[in-house]
Symmetry: C2
Protein backbone atom coordinates (compact mmCIF):
# COMPACT_ATOMS: atom_id res chain seq x y z
CA UNK A 1 0.00 0.00 0.00
CA UNK A 2 2.57 2.53 1.07
CA UNK A 3 4.71 1.39 -1.88
CA UNK A 4 1.96 2.38 -4.31
CA UNK A 5 1.79 5.80 -2.65
CA UNK A 6 5.57 6.28 -2.64
CA UNK A 7 5.91 5.23 -6.27
CA UNK A 8 3.37 7.69 -7.64
CA UNK A 9 4.40 9.36 -10.87
CA UNK A 10 2.21 11.60 -12.95
CA UNK A 11 1.90 9.99 -16.38
CA UNK A 12 1.56 12.27 -19.41
CA UNK A 13 1.99 9.70 -22.22
CA UNK A 14 -0.40 6.78 -22.63
CA UNK A 15 -0.66 3.66 -24.79
CA UNK A 16 -3.67 3.18 -27.02
CA UNK A 17 -4.90 0.12 -25.10
CA UNK A 18 -8.35 0.55 -23.60
CA UNK A 19 -9.02 -0.15 -19.91
CA UNK A 20 -11.46 -3.00 -19.23
CA UNK A 21 -14.77 -2.10 -17.64
CA UNK A 22 -14.14 -4.40 -14.69
CA UNK A 23 -10.90 -2.53 -13.98
CA UNK A 24 -12.71 0.80 -14.13
CA UNK A 25 -15.32 -0.63 -11.77
CA UNK A 26 -12.64 -1.73 -9.31
CA UNK A 27 -11.22 1.79 -9.33
CA UNK A 28 -14.64 3.36 -8.75
CA UNK A 29 -15.52 0.84 -6.04
CA UNK A 30 -12.29 1.82 -4.26
CA UNK A 31 -13.25 5.47 -4.77
CA UNK A 32 -16.53 5.28 -2.89
CA UNK A 33 -14.87 3.77 0.20
CA UNK A 34 -13.28 7.15 0.94
CA UNK A 35 -14.51 9.04 3.99
CA UNK A 36 -17.49 11.25 3.21
CA UNK A 37 -19.12 13.92 5.36
CA UNK A 38 -21.87 12.31 7.44
CA UNK A 39 -21.92 9.48 4.87
CA UNK A 40 -23.86 11.79 2.55
CA UNK A 41 -21.65 10.99 -0.47
CA UNK A 42 -22.21 14.42 -1.95
CA UNK A 43 -20.16 13.82 -5.09
CA UNK A 44 -20.52 12.26 -8.51
CA UNK A 45 -17.99 10.77 -10.90
CA UNK A 46 -18.51 11.15 -14.64
CA UNK A 47 -16.55 8.52 -16.58
CA UNK A 48 -15.94 9.53 -20.18
CA UNK A 49 -14.35 7.18 -22.73
CA UNK A 50 -16.01 8.15 -26.03
CA UNK A 51 -13.60 9.77 -28.47
CA UNK A 52 -15.88 12.60 -29.56
CA UNK A 53 -16.65 13.83 -26.06
CA UNK A 54 -13.05 13.28 -24.99
CA UNK A 55 -11.99 15.61 -27.78
CA UNK A 56 -14.26 18.34 -26.44
CA UNK A 57 -12.95 17.80 -22.92
CA UNK A 58 -9.42 17.96 -24.31
CA UNK A 59 -10.19 21.43 -25.63
CA UNK A 60 -11.65 22.47 -22.27
CA UNK A 61 -8.48 21.22 -20.58
CA UNK A 62 -6.28 23.52 -22.69
CA UNK A 63 -5.52 20.77 -25.25
CA UNK A 64 -3.19 18.82 -22.98
CA UNK A 65 -2.23 15.74 -25.01
CA UNK A 66 -2.87 13.19 -22.29
CA UNK A 67 -6.59 14.00 -22.29
CA UNK A 68 -6.84 12.67 -25.84
CA UNK A 69 -4.39 9.83 -25.33
CA UNK A 70 -5.61 8.34 -22.06
CA UNK A 71 -8.60 6.02 -22.59
CA UNK A 72 -10.46 7.01 -19.43
CA UNK A 73 -11.38 10.45 -18.13
CA UNK A 74 -12.99 10.72 -14.69
CA UNK A 75 -14.49 14.07 -13.74
CA UNK A 76 -15.09 14.38 -10.00
CA UNK A 77 -17.91 16.72 -9.05
CA UNK A 78 -19.17 18.29 -5.85
CA UNK A 79 -22.80 17.12 -6.07
CA UNK A 80 -25.72 18.10 -3.83
CA UNK A 81 -28.24 17.50 -6.64
CA UNK A 82 -28.86 13.84 -5.81
CA UNK A 83 -28.96 14.48 -2.07
CA UNK A 84 -31.36 17.43 -2.43
CA UNK A 85 -33.67 15.41 -4.67
CA UNK A 86 -33.71 12.63 -2.09
CA UNK A 87 -34.48 15.12 0.70
CA UNK A 88 -37.38 16.63 -1.22
CA UNK A 89 -38.83 13.18 -1.98
CA UNK A 90 -38.60 12.34 1.73
CA UNK A 91 -40.42 15.38 3.13
CA UNK A 92 -37.16 17.04 4.17
CA UNK A 93 -36.24 20.63 3.29
CA UNK A 94 -32.57 20.80 2.23
CA UNK A 95 -30.49 23.83 3.22
CA UNK A 96 -27.42 23.21 1.11
CA UNK A 97 -27.46 26.18 -1.26
CA UNK A 98 -24.43 27.77 0.38
CA UNK A 99 -20.65 27.91 0.23
CA UNK A 100 -20.04 25.56 3.17
CA UNK A 101 -22.06 22.87 1.43
CA UNK A 102 -20.14 23.38 -1.80
CA UNK A 103 -16.85 23.06 0.04
CA UNK A 104 -18.05 19.99 1.95
CA UNK A 105 -19.03 18.35 -1.33
CA UNK A 106 -15.70 19.32 -2.89
CA UNK A 107 -13.84 17.63 -0.01
CA UNK A 108 -15.93 14.48 -0.57
CA UNK A 109 -15.14 14.53 -4.30
CA UNK A 110 -11.41 15.08 -3.77
CA UNK A 111 -10.93 12.28 -1.23
CA UNK A 112 -12.79 9.98 -3.62
CA UNK A 113 -10.54 11.09 -6.48
CA UNK A 114 -7.38 10.28 -4.55
CA UNK A 115 -8.71 6.82 -3.70
CA UNK A 116 -9.40 6.27 -7.41
CA UNK A 117 -5.91 7.52 -8.34
CA UNK A 118 -4.21 5.11 -5.95
CA UNK A 119 -6.47 2.20 -6.89
CA UNK A 120 -5.68 2.81 -10.57
CA UNK A 121 -1.97 2.92 -9.87
CA UNK A 122 -2.09 -0.26 -7.81
CA UNK A 123 -3.73 -1.95 -10.81
CA UNK A 124 -0.86 -0.96 -13.09
CA UNK A 125 -2.41 2.13 -14.64
CA UNK A 126 -0.95 5.60 -14.77
CA UNK A 127 -2.87 8.73 -13.84
CA UNK A 128 -2.70 12.48 -14.21
CA UNK A 129 -4.75 15.11 -12.40
CA UNK A 130 -6.09 18.00 -14.47
CA UNK A 131 -5.98 21.25 -12.53
CA UNK A 132 -7.63 22.89 -15.50
CA UNK A 133 -10.96 21.52 -14.21
CA UNK A 134 -11.48 24.54 -11.96
CA UNK A 135 -10.29 26.94 -14.68
CA UNK A 136 -12.89 25.81 -17.17
CA UNK A 137 -15.52 24.39 -14.82
CA UNK A 138 -18.29 26.13 -16.75
CA UNK A 139 -17.39 24.65 -20.15
CA UNK A 140 -16.83 21.20 -18.61
CA UNK A 141 -20.16 21.51 -16.86
CA UNK A 142 -21.89 22.19 -20.18
CA UNK A 143 -20.11 19.34 -21.96
CA UNK A 144 -21.09 16.85 -19.25
CA UNK A 145 -24.65 18.14 -18.75
CA UNK A 146 -24.05 18.91 -15.09
CA UNK A 147 -27.26 20.20 -13.50
CA UNK A 148 -27.70 22.80 -10.74
CA UNK A 149 -25.87 21.92 -7.50
CA UNK A 150 -23.14 20.02 -9.36
CA UNK A 151 -19.68 21.58 -9.91
CA UNK A 152 -16.64 19.74 -11.34
CA UNK A 153 -13.67 20.10 -8.99
CA UNK A 154 -10.99 17.83 -10.41
CA UNK A 155 -10.36 15.35 -13.21
CA UNK A 156 -8.23 12.23 -13.48
CA UNK A 157 -7.12 10.71 -16.75
CA UNK A 158 -6.08 7.05 -16.54
CA UNK A 159 -4.57 4.47 -18.85
CA UNK A 160 -1.56 2.29 -19.49
CA UNK A 161 1.64 4.36 -19.18
CA UNK A 162 3.80 4.89 -22.26
CA UNK A 163 6.63 6.48 -20.29
CA UNK A 164 8.54 5.77 -17.05
CA UNK A 165 9.36 9.15 -15.59
CA UNK A 166 11.64 9.60 -12.59
CA UNK A 167 10.11 10.32 -9.23
CA UNK A 168 9.34 14.07 -9.03
CA UNK A 169 11.29 16.10 -6.48
CA UNK A 170 9.53 17.28 -3.34
CA UNK A 171 10.49 19.81 -0.71
CA UNK A 172 12.02 18.13 2.36
CA UNK A 173 9.42 16.94 4.85
CA UNK A 174 10.43 19.60 7.39
CA UNK A 175 9.47 22.29 4.85
CA UNK A 176 5.78 21.37 4.88
CA UNK A 177 5.34 19.87 8.36
CA UNK A 178 4.92 21.93 11.53
CA UNK A 179 5.05 20.49 15.03
CA UNK A 180 2.33 21.44 17.51
CA UNK A 181 1.76 24.89 15.93
CA UNK A 182 2.73 26.62 12.70
CA UNK A 183 6.22 28.13 12.76
CA UNK A 184 6.51 30.86 10.18
CA UNK A 185 9.45 30.76 7.77
CA UNK A 186 12.52 32.96 8.01
CA UNK A 187 14.60 33.83 4.94
CA UNK A 188 17.07 31.15 6.05
CA UNK A 189 14.28 28.54 6.29
CA UNK A 190 13.13 29.32 2.75
CA UNK A 191 16.70 29.15 1.40
CA UNK A 192 17.26 25.81 3.12
CA UNK A 193 13.92 24.26 2.12
CA UNK A 194 14.26 25.24 -1.55
CA UNK A 195 18.00 24.51 -1.81
CA UNK A 196 17.68 21.03 -3.29
CA UNK A 197 14.94 22.01 -5.75
CA UNK A 198 16.91 24.99 -6.97
CA UNK A 199 20.10 22.94 -7.32
CA UNK A 200 18.50 20.36 -9.63
CA UNK A 201 19.88 20.16 -13.17
CA UNK A 202 16.28 20.10 -14.44
CA UNK A 203 15.61 23.39 -12.64
CA UNK A 204 18.67 25.00 -14.21
CA UNK A 205 17.65 23.78 -17.65
CA UNK A 206 14.12 25.11 -17.12
CA UNK A 207 15.40 28.56 -16.15
CA UNK A 208 17.64 28.67 -19.22
CA UNK A 209 14.85 27.51 -21.51
CA UNK A 210 12.41 30.09 -20.10
CA UNK A 211 15.01 32.87 -20.20
CA UNK A 212 14.14 34.06 -16.68
CA UNK A 213 16.25 34.78 -13.64
CA UNK A 214 14.75 32.37 -11.11
CA UNK A 215 12.52 29.29 -10.93
CA UNK A 216 9.97 31.27 -8.94
CA UNK A 217 9.56 33.67 -11.87
CA UNK A 218 8.59 30.77 -14.14
CA UNK A 219 5.64 30.24 -11.82
CA UNK A 220 4.66 33.88 -11.44
CA UNK A 221 5.32 34.99 -15.04
CA UNK A 222 4.65 31.89 -17.17
CA UNK A 223 2.68 29.17 -15.46
CA UNK A 224 0.41 30.72 -12.86
CA UNK A 225 0.21 34.42 -13.58
CA UNK A 226 -1.82 36.96 -11.63
CA UNK A 227 -3.82 37.77 -14.74
CA UNK A 228 -4.87 34.14 -15.29
CA UNK A 229 -5.51 33.51 -11.60
CA UNK A 230 -7.77 36.54 -11.33
CA UNK A 231 -9.67 35.66 -14.50
CA UNK A 232 -10.24 32.06 -13.45
CA UNK A 233 -11.07 33.08 -9.88
CA UNK A 234 -13.93 35.18 -11.20
CA UNK A 235 -15.10 32.35 -13.43
CA UNK A 236 -14.91 29.76 -10.65
CA UNK A 237 -16.85 31.93 -8.21
CA UNK A 238 -19.39 32.62 -10.95
CA UNK A 239 -20.09 28.97 -11.62
CA UNK A 240 -20.28 28.16 -7.90
CA UNK A 241 -22.91 30.88 -7.67
CA UNK A 242 -24.67 29.85 -10.88
CA UNK A 243 -24.92 26.27 -9.60
CA UNK A 244 -26.73 27.52 -6.51
CA UNK A 245 -24.00 27.42 -3.87
CA UNK A 246 -23.56 31.14 -3.21
CA UNK A 247 -27.07 32.40 -2.58
Amino acid sequence: MIDTILNHRTIRKYKNDPVDDHVINKILTAGIRASTTGNMQVYSIVVTTGQELKKKLWEAHFKQDMVLQAPVIMTFCADFNRFNKWCKLRKAVPGYDNFLSFFTAAIDALLTAQNCALAAESLGLGICYLGTTTYNAEIISELLNLPRNVVPVTTLVAGFPDESPELTDRLPLEAVVHHEKYTDYTKEDIDRHYFEKEALETTKALIKENKVETLARIFTEKRYTREDNELFSRKLLEIIKEKGFLT
Copy 2:
Protein backbone atom coordinates in the same frame (compact mmCIF):
# COMPACT_ATOMS: atom_id res chain seq x y z
CA MET B 1 -3.20 -1.48 -1.66
CA ILE B 2 -6.78 -1.79 -2.81
CA ASP B 3 -7.46 -3.93 0.30
CA THR B 4 -6.44 -1.02 2.54
CA ILE B 5 -8.80 1.24 0.63
CA LEU B 6 -11.69 -1.24 0.71
CA ASN B 7 -11.26 -1.91 4.42
CA HIS B 8 -11.42 1.73 5.49
CA ARG B 9 -13.48 2.32 8.62
CA THR B 10 -13.74 5.61 10.45
CA ILE B 11 -12.44 5.02 13.98
CA ARG B 12 -14.00 7.02 16.80
CA LYS B 13 -12.49 5.19 19.83
CA TYR B 14 -8.74 5.06 20.38
CA LYS B 15 -6.34 3.34 22.75
CA ASN B 16 -4.03 5.42 24.92
CA ASP B 17 -0.87 4.15 23.20
CA PRO B 18 1.18 6.87 21.56
CA VAL B 19 2.28 6.62 17.91
CA ASP B 20 6.05 6.47 17.36
CA ASP B 21 7.64 9.40 15.60
CA HIS B 22 9.03 7.17 12.86
CA VAL B 23 5.50 5.96 12.12
CA ILE B 24 4.24 9.54 11.95
CA ASN B 25 7.13 10.34 9.62
CA LYS B 26 6.23 7.43 7.36
CA ILE B 27 2.67 8.73 7.15
CA LEU B 28 3.81 12.26 6.32
CA THR B 29 6.36 11.02 3.79
CA ALA B 30 3.54 9.16 2.05
CA GLY B 31 1.46 12.33 2.25
CA ILE B 32 3.85 14.48 0.27
CA ARG B 33 3.97 12.02 -2.64
CA ALA B 34 0.42 13.04 -3.58
CA SER B 35 -0.06 14.97 -6.81
CA THR B 36 0.28 18.71 -6.30
CA THR B 37 -0.52 21.54 -8.70
CA GLY B 38 2.59 22.35 -10.76
CA ASN B 39 4.62 20.69 -7.97
CA MET B 40 4.13 23.85 -5.91
CA GLN B 41 3.14 21.91 -2.75
CA VAL B 42 0.92 24.74 -1.57
CA TYR B 43 -0.12 23.04 1.68
CA SER B 44 1.16 22.54 5.20
CA ILE B 45 0.50 19.86 7.79
CA VAL B 46 0.43 20.79 11.46
CA VAL B 47 1.00 17.74 13.66
CA THR B 48 -0.28 18.22 17.20
CA THR B 49 0.31 15.69 19.97
CA GLY B 50 0.59 17.82 23.13
CA GLN B 51 -2.33 17.29 25.51
CA GLU B 52 -2.91 20.94 26.30
CA LEU B 53 -3.20 22.08 22.69
CA LYS B 54 -5.17 18.95 21.78
CA LYS B 55 -7.71 19.93 24.42
CA LYS B 56 -8.16 23.33 22.81
CA LEU B 57 -8.51 21.74 19.38
CA TRP B 58 -11.04 19.33 20.88
CA GLU B 59 -13.14 22.32 21.91
CA ALA B 60 -12.83 23.85 18.43
CA HIS B 61 -13.97 20.52 16.95
CA PHE B 62 -17.21 20.58 18.94
CA LYS B 63 -15.77 18.39 21.71
CA GLN B 64 -15.80 15.19 19.69
CA ASP B 65 -14.24 12.57 22.01
CA MET B 66 -11.83 11.14 19.45
CA VAL B 67 -9.94 14.43 19.27
CA LEU B 68 -8.91 14.01 22.90
CA GLN B 69 -8.41 10.24 22.70
CA ALA B 70 -6.38 9.93 19.50
CA PRO B 71 -2.69 10.63 20.13
CA VAL B 72 -2.06 12.42 16.83
CA ILE B 73 -3.94 15.31 15.23
CA MET B 74 -2.94 16.40 11.73
CA THR B 75 -4.39 19.67 10.47
CA PHE B 76 -4.10 20.05 6.71
CA CYS B 77 -3.91 23.62 5.48
CA ALA B 78 -4.12 25.36 2.14
CA ASP B 79 -0.83 27.29 2.31
CA PHE B 80 0.49 29.93 -0.09
CA ASN B 81 2.52 31.62 2.66
CA ARG B 82 5.68 29.57 2.11
CA PHE B 83 5.40 29.79 -1.69
CA ASN B 84 4.80 33.55 -1.64
CA LYS B 85 7.77 34.08 0.67
CA TRP B 86 9.95 32.05 -1.71
CA CYS B 87 8.71 34.08 -4.69
CA LYS B 88 9.48 37.38 -3.01
CA LEU B 89 12.98 36.21 -2.04
CA ARG B 90 13.57 35.21 -5.66
CA LYS B 91 12.58 38.48 -7.36
CA ALA B 92 9.21 37.08 -8.40
CA VAL B 93 5.89 38.86 -7.76
CA PRO B 94 3.28 36.34 -6.60
CA GLY B 95 -0.33 36.76 -7.74
CA TYR B 96 -2.00 34.22 -5.47
CA ASP B 97 -4.25 36.42 -3.35
CA ASN B 98 -7.41 35.10 -4.99
CA PHE B 99 -10.05 32.40 -4.73
CA LEU B 100 -8.62 30.15 -7.46
CA SER B 101 -5.32 30.00 -5.58
CA PHE B 102 -7.10 29.16 -2.33
CA PHE B 103 -9.02 26.36 -4.02
CA THR B 104 -5.86 25.05 -5.73
CA ALA B 105 -4.11 24.94 -2.37
CA ALA B 106 -7.12 23.25 -0.78
CA ILE B 107 -7.00 20.52 -3.45
CA ASP B 108 -3.30 20.00 -2.72
CA ALA B 109 -3.98 19.74 1.01
CA LEU B 110 -6.87 17.29 0.57
CA LEU B 111 -5.03 14.88 -1.73
CA THR B 112 -2.16 14.92 0.76
CA ALA B 113 -4.59 14.21 3.61
CA GLN B 114 -6.04 11.17 1.86
CA ASN B 115 -2.54 9.79 1.23
CA CYS B 116 -1.82 10.21 4.95
CA ALA B 117 -5.11 8.54 5.89
CA LEU B 118 -4.38 5.49 3.75
CA ALA B 119 -0.74 5.30 4.84
CA ALA B 120 -1.84 5.41 8.49
CA GLU B 121 -4.39 2.66 7.91
CA SER B 122 -1.89 0.48 6.09
CA LEU B 123 0.37 0.81 9.16
CA GLY B 124 -2.37 -0.50 11.46
CA LEU B 125 -3.67 2.83 12.71
CA GLY B 126 -7.23 4.07 12.63
CA ILE B 127 -8.22 7.52 11.40
CA CYS B 128 -11.13 9.91 11.48
CA TYR B 129 -11.65 13.06 9.39
CA LEU B 130 -12.97 16.12 11.18
CA GLY B 131 -15.40 18.05 9.00
CA THR B 132 -15.60 20.61 11.78
CA THR B 133 -12.31 22.06 10.48
CA THR B 134 -14.12 24.29 7.99
CA TYR B 135 -16.78 25.21 10.57
CA ASN B 136 -14.28 26.58 13.05
CA ALA B 137 -11.40 27.41 10.72
CA GLU B 138 -10.89 30.76 12.41
CA ILE B 139 -10.53 29.38 15.94
CA ILE B 140 -8.28 26.54 14.70
CA SER B 141 -6.23 29.09 12.81
CA GLU B 142 -5.68 31.09 16.01
CA LEU B 143 -4.82 28.00 18.07
CA LEU B 144 -2.23 26.84 15.52
CA ASN B 145 -0.77 30.31 14.80
CA LEU B 146 -1.63 30.10 11.11
CA PRO B 147 -0.38 33.22 9.31
CA ARG B 148 -1.91 35.08 6.35
CA ASN B 149 -2.38 32.88 3.25
CA VAL B 150 -2.87 29.73 5.35
CA VAL B 151 -6.35 28.24 5.90
CA PRO B 152 -7.07 24.88 7.57
CA VAL B 153 -9.27 22.72 5.30
CA THR B 154 -9.42 19.34 6.99
CA THR B 155 -8.09 17.43 9.99
CA LEU B 156 -7.22 13.79 10.57
CA VAL B 157 -6.95 12.21 13.98
CA ALA B 158 -4.93 8.98 14.09
CA GLY B 159 -4.11 6.34 16.65
CA PHE B 160 -4.52 2.69 17.56
CA PRO B 161 -8.19 1.67 17.20
CA ASP B 162 -10.13 0.66 20.29
CA GLU B 163 -13.13 -0.54 18.31
CA SER B 164 -13.79 -2.66 15.19
CA PRO B 165 -16.81 -1.14 13.50
CA GLU B 166 -18.56 -2.76 10.57
CA LEU B 167 -17.97 -1.39 7.10
CA THR B 168 -20.21 1.66 6.60
CA ASP B 169 -22.94 1.37 3.96
CA ARG B 170 -22.52 3.22 0.69
CA LEU B 171 -24.95 3.97 -2.11
CA PRO B 172 -24.63 1.49 -4.98
CA LEU B 173 -21.92 2.44 -7.45
CA GLU B 174 -24.47 3.26 -10.16
CA ALA B 175 -25.90 5.95 -7.87
CA VAL B 176 -22.75 8.07 -7.95
CA VAL B 177 -21.23 7.14 -11.32
CA HIS B 178 -22.36 8.58 -14.65
CA HIS B 179 -21.26 7.25 -18.01
CA GLU B 180 -20.07 9.72 -20.65
CA LYS B 181 -22.28 12.55 -19.38
CA TYR B 182 -24.34 13.23 -16.26
CA THR B 183 -27.78 11.66 -16.31
CA ASP B 184 -30.10 13.45 -13.95
CA TYR B 185 -32.08 11.40 -11.43
CA THR B 186 -35.76 10.56 -11.75
CA LYS B 187 -37.91 9.83 -8.69
CA GLU B 188 -37.52 6.13 -9.50
CA ASP B 189 -33.72 6.45 -9.63
CA ILE B 190 -33.65 8.09 -6.20
CA ASP B 191 -35.95 5.45 -4.71
CA ARG B 192 -33.79 2.66 -6.15
CA HIS B 193 -30.45 4.19 -5.15
CA TYR B 194 -31.53 4.88 -1.57
CA PHE B 195 -33.50 1.65 -1.12
CA GLU B 196 -30.76 -0.33 0.63
CA LYS B 197 -29.72 2.54 2.89
CA GLU B 198 -33.30 3.18 3.95
CA ALA B 199 -33.93 -0.53 4.56
CA LEU B 200 -31.01 -0.89 7.01
CA GLU B 201 -31.91 -1.78 10.60
CA THR B 202 -29.50 0.95 11.75
CA THR B 203 -31.43 3.49 9.69
CA LYS B 204 -34.71 2.42 11.22
CA ALA B 205 -33.24 2.64 14.71
CA LEU B 206 -31.87 6.11 13.95
CA ILE B 207 -35.24 7.36 12.76
CA LYS B 208 -36.92 6.01 15.90
CA GLU B 209 -34.27 7.49 18.18
CA ASN B 210 -34.52 10.91 16.47
CA LYS B 211 -38.32 10.83 16.44
CA VAL B 212 -38.52 12.01 12.83
CA GLU B 213 -40.35 10.68 9.82
CA THR B 214 -37.46 10.00 7.43
CA LEU B 215 -33.68 9.58 7.41
CA ALA B 216 -33.38 12.64 5.19
CA ARG B 217 -34.97 14.77 7.92
CA ILE B 218 -32.26 13.73 10.36
CA PHE B 219 -29.81 15.38 7.99
CA THR B 220 -31.83 18.51 7.29
CA GLU B 221 -33.22 19.03 10.81
CA LYS B 222 -30.56 17.64 13.17
CA ARG B 223 -27.14 17.14 11.60
CA TYR B 224 -26.69 19.67 8.82
CA THR B 225 -29.32 22.34 9.24
CA ARG B 226 -29.79 25.38 7.03
CA GLU B 227 -29.14 27.64 9.99
CA ASP B 228 -25.77 26.04 10.79
CA ASN B 229 -24.77 25.81 7.14
CA GLU B 230 -25.47 29.49 6.57
CA LEU B 231 -23.66 30.55 9.73
CA PHE B 232 -20.57 28.48 8.94
CA SER B 233 -20.64 29.52 5.27
CA ARG B 234 -20.33 33.14 6.32
CA LYS B 235 -17.52 32.29 8.73
CA LEU B 236 -15.64 30.22 6.17
CA LEU B 237 -15.87 32.92 3.50
CA GLU B 238 -14.77 35.47 6.10
CA ILE B 239 -11.61 33.61 7.02
CA ILE B 240 -10.77 32.92 3.36
CA LYS B 241 -11.01 36.67 2.83
CA GLU B 242 -9.18 37.54 6.04
CA LYS B 243 -6.32 35.23 5.04
CA GLY B 244 -5.93 37.16 1.81
CA PHE B 245 -7.60 34.87 -0.72
CA LEU B 246 -10.63 36.97 -1.67
CA THR B 247 -9.17 40.35 -2.51
